[in-house]
Structures are given as C-alpha cells and as structure tokens.
C-alpha cells in the first residue's frame, strides 16, 4: 500500500483533535505532532497545558529572540506561560501524571494495537539508543490517553495493528486514535471508527488497518 493522497494534513489532524478537548481540562501534549494541537484550541475554551519538565499553563512559542533557554517544553523548544501558570519540580510534575490528576494525554505512536497497547518509545533495533522519557508515566497515570498519528508509516505500513511488534510503552492504555483518515475509538470490541475524514471511505481505512475495524459511526 502506498501513502494515501486523501485524508487530513497534520495541521488538520491537530485541529480535529483539538475540538475534543473539554473546556477547563488539564492536558499533556507529547513531542512532535501532538504539540501542534495547542495551536488549534478553540478560543472559547480554557485548557491548561502541562509539560512534564515542570510547568502548568504553557503558552505559545516566544517571539524570536524573546525566549528564555530555561523555559522549554518536553521537546526542548522554548515556550511561554499563561496567566495562572506555576512551576514545580519533577517529583511534583510526575505526581500530577501518576496520581491521575491530568485529564488527557495526547501522544504520538509507532504502533497502536486493537487491545489499546501502545508502542512509541523504541523500535527495539540493535543499535537504537533506548530513550523513554515520560511516556510510560503518562500512559500509566493520565485519565485518558489519545494518540495522534498518520494512519500508516511513510512506506505505507499500517500503524494500527492486532498486536504491537515494537516494545510496549503501556498495555491497554489508548482510548482513541486520530489519524489522517479517521477518528477511531478503542473499546472492548477493538478498533471502532467513529468518524471518517472528508472523502475517505470506511473500506479505504479498513484496507490500511492491520486489525479488524468496526464501523461505529452515528447513524
């Protein structure tokens, strides 16, 4: 299978995911694609963004030259703060995560399995440097875990699979996946499509998913 030409761009994916974040929620956005979601929070909602290296109330990137190299996010990019922000150390930051105080974490993925398993920290390759960061803490502690990811890798391999082949970040942790093709819930019945991207058919998505897919769109 080749990469799909149809479907959402990454910015459109981020915009779509942003629609589902409730007003007033405390949210951690993973490095990379998940970070884009911050750009698309609807204006009428107040979301408090948590970054695991020690800040609640992350604001947008600073203007060029106005940043502080010691005010960075988990992706080590300079950020700003919003009114109501607070700084704290790593044990307190992960108390928020592990203790179930965050409402939502949105993460990237190498693979997501139909049982909710997530692999996003290691390809397990012989010379790959293992690096886990806060991913395992996030999936074990945050109330809801969403994944945002292209539906397939660059070479067309499905990322939604029956069982993960890469080392797990967490077992049975993913609640929902946003891809360029669809919005897919993970339930006791496995992958359930709840929304298709404009111009994308259910069969198109099913053909690019390496596990059974149920159509659970509202009638």
């Amino acid at each position: 299978m080749s990469p799909t030409a149809m479907g959402l761009t990454t910015r459109q994916m981020a915009r779509r995911a942003a629609q589902d974040i409730s007003d007033g929620s405390y949210v951690n956005l993973g490095i990379g694609l998940p970070e884009l979601i911050a750009l698309f929070i609807p204006d009428d909602r107040e979301i408090v963004l948590h970054i695991e290296n020690g800040l609640l109330g992350m604001g947008p990137s600073p203007e060029p030259g106005k940043g502080d190299p010691e005010l960075i996010n988990a992706g080590k990019k300079q950020v700003t703060t919003r009114p109501g922000a607070s700084y704290f150390h790593q044990a307190d930051s992960f108390a928020m995560i592990r203790g179930g105080h965050l409402d939502l974490s949105v993460l990237g993925a190498l693979e997501v399995a139909a049982n909710g398993d997530l692999a996003n920290w290691s390809t397990g390759g012989e010379h790959a440097i293992p690096a886990v960061g806060g991913a395992m803490d996030l999936v074990s502690g945050v109330k809801a875990v969403y994944v945002i990811s292209r539906h397939c890798t660059r070479d067309g391999t499905p990322k939604l699979v029956e069982r993960c082949s890469y080392p797990l970040t967490g077992a049975g942790v993913v609640d929902r996946v946003y891809t360029d093709l669809a919005v897919i819930d993970i339930t006791a019945k496995g992958f359930e499509v709840v929304e298709l991207s404009p111009g994308v058919s259910f069969d198109h998505v099913a053909a690019r998913t390496a596990a059974p897919l149920r159509d659970a769109r509202p009638a």
Binding site: G24, G84, F94, G99, H101
Partner: protein
C-alpha cells in the same frame, strides 16, 4: 473558562456524603479550615473517616465535628490536646476509632496517595508497637515497614491566597499538610483569606498548583482556634 470559586463554605461542602473519607488540613490551629469544618457540621454528613494530624481543641472546629458524632474514625498522629476532652471521652467510651500514624508516615502516605504511589517502605516505627499488623522487610540491613497510600473523597484545607484557577500560597506554618491533602483528595476544597485573578501569583512561588484544587471559597477573616477556645466558644 476556568473559575473554581464557589459562593460559600456551605456550597463547597454540600457534596460530602455519609461514610466519606475527609482529609482536614492543619497542625494544631495553624491551617485548620474552621469555617469549612463548621459548614460540614451544618451539613450533617455522618459516619465520616477523618484524616488529620490532630483531633481539635475546645469545642469548635474539628473537636466540634467529632463531638457532633459525625466522625466514626480518625487517622491521626497526635489526638491529644490540653484544651479538649472531646476526642478522649469518645475514644474511651469506644465510640470513635483511632488509627494512630507517626506524623512523617502520615505525611508520606498522603503524598503517596496524591502521587499515585500505592505503597512504600519506611524505617519509622519499626521495632515499636506501631509495627503491629504491618509487613516488615529489610533494606541494607535495616528493618522497614510497608505503608500504604492514603486518599480521600474530600480534602478541606485553608490557604492565604488562591487565584480562580485554584493556585495556592499558604501562611507560614499553616502550610503543613495542606499541599499534600490537596493532592490526595478526589475533591479538594480550599478556604482562602484572599482570592485573586490568574496571573496575580508568582508562578515560581505557587505552592499548590491549581490542578489539585476543585473549589475555592473566599473566607476573608477566618477565625483562629486559640482565640475561639480562649473565649469559650462552642459550635454550633
């Protein structure tokens, strides 16, 4: 938009149910949320388990809650007071249960509850009567006890200043257990002497980030336990 302010102590505690576990901040009178406790007396929820370092003074605040018969059990490090016989009388009459916990272990168990740590080992109390019923294990040749996390349905605490997001700073030694209880309460209610807009507190100096707080009540001139006791006050 985020605004955690509620209009009165009564509104803030209205959801507390019979049989709930309630953490109450304070070390002696410092940090004791008297107005929230009095609202809980008015509210009347019964059969409560209270987690608090002390058992109150005189016949106001926590002592009054106990005297009202609303507390079935207290988890506590120092339930003795020179100014109150409320707890001792009920305890000796077998009408209230006590789980006695060393103060540092109490603090650590509450923090663990807030931090998602289900249990930990500590050397404190190994080899004493408070070891009874606890699992013992040696680390580096030192006997330690397994202690379990404490969580609560509600935490009632007092702060000096809150913003409407629930960010908190405290007053001096009134801080004590409150930041920990804020973390360990499923619903955390704060009475604050001042309430300000987000951005008014220095982000470097916030002690309790708002994520741990659910309801903020403005109580501008809170009573002090020692002053109430000195003038022989009773509640209600």
């Amino acid at each position: 938009m985020i605004d955690k302010r509620v209009g009165s102590p009564g509104e803030a505690v209205a959801g507390i149910g019979d049989g709930d576990t309630v953490m109450i901040g304070g070390f002696g009178e410092a940090g004791s949320p008297i107005e929230l406790i009095h609202a809980l007396i008015d509210h009347g929820a019964a059969n409560l388990t209270v987690i608090s370092n002390n058992s109150g003074s005189g016949e106001i605040g926590l002592a009054a809650l106990i005297r009202a018969g609303q507390v079935a059990k207290i988890v506590c490090s120092f339930p003795r007071s020179t100014n109150s016989t409320v707890f001792p009388d009920l305890f000796n009459a077998g009408r209230i249960q006590l789980e006695l916990v060393p103060q540092g272990t109490l603090a650590e168990r509450i923090r663990a509850g807030g931090a998602g740590i289900p249990a930990f080992y500590t050397p404190t109390a190994a080899g004493t009567d408070l070891e009874a019923g606890k699992e013992r294990r040696e680390f580096d040749g030192r006997p330690c006890l397994l202690e379990h996390a404490l969580v609560a349905d509600w935490s009632l605490i007092k702060a000096r200043t809150a913003d409407s997001h629930g960010n908190l700073v405290y007053n001096k030694t009134a801080r004590n257990f409150s930041p920990l209880m804020a973390m360990a309460g499923r619903t955390t209610v704060v009475q604050a002497s001042a309430v300000v807009e987000p951005g008014c507190l220095d982000p470097e100096a916030v002690i309790t980030p708002g994520i741990f707080v659910d309801h903020v009540v403005h109580v501008p001139n809170p009573e002090h336990e020692s002053e109430l006791v000195a003038r022989g006050a009773r509640y209600p």
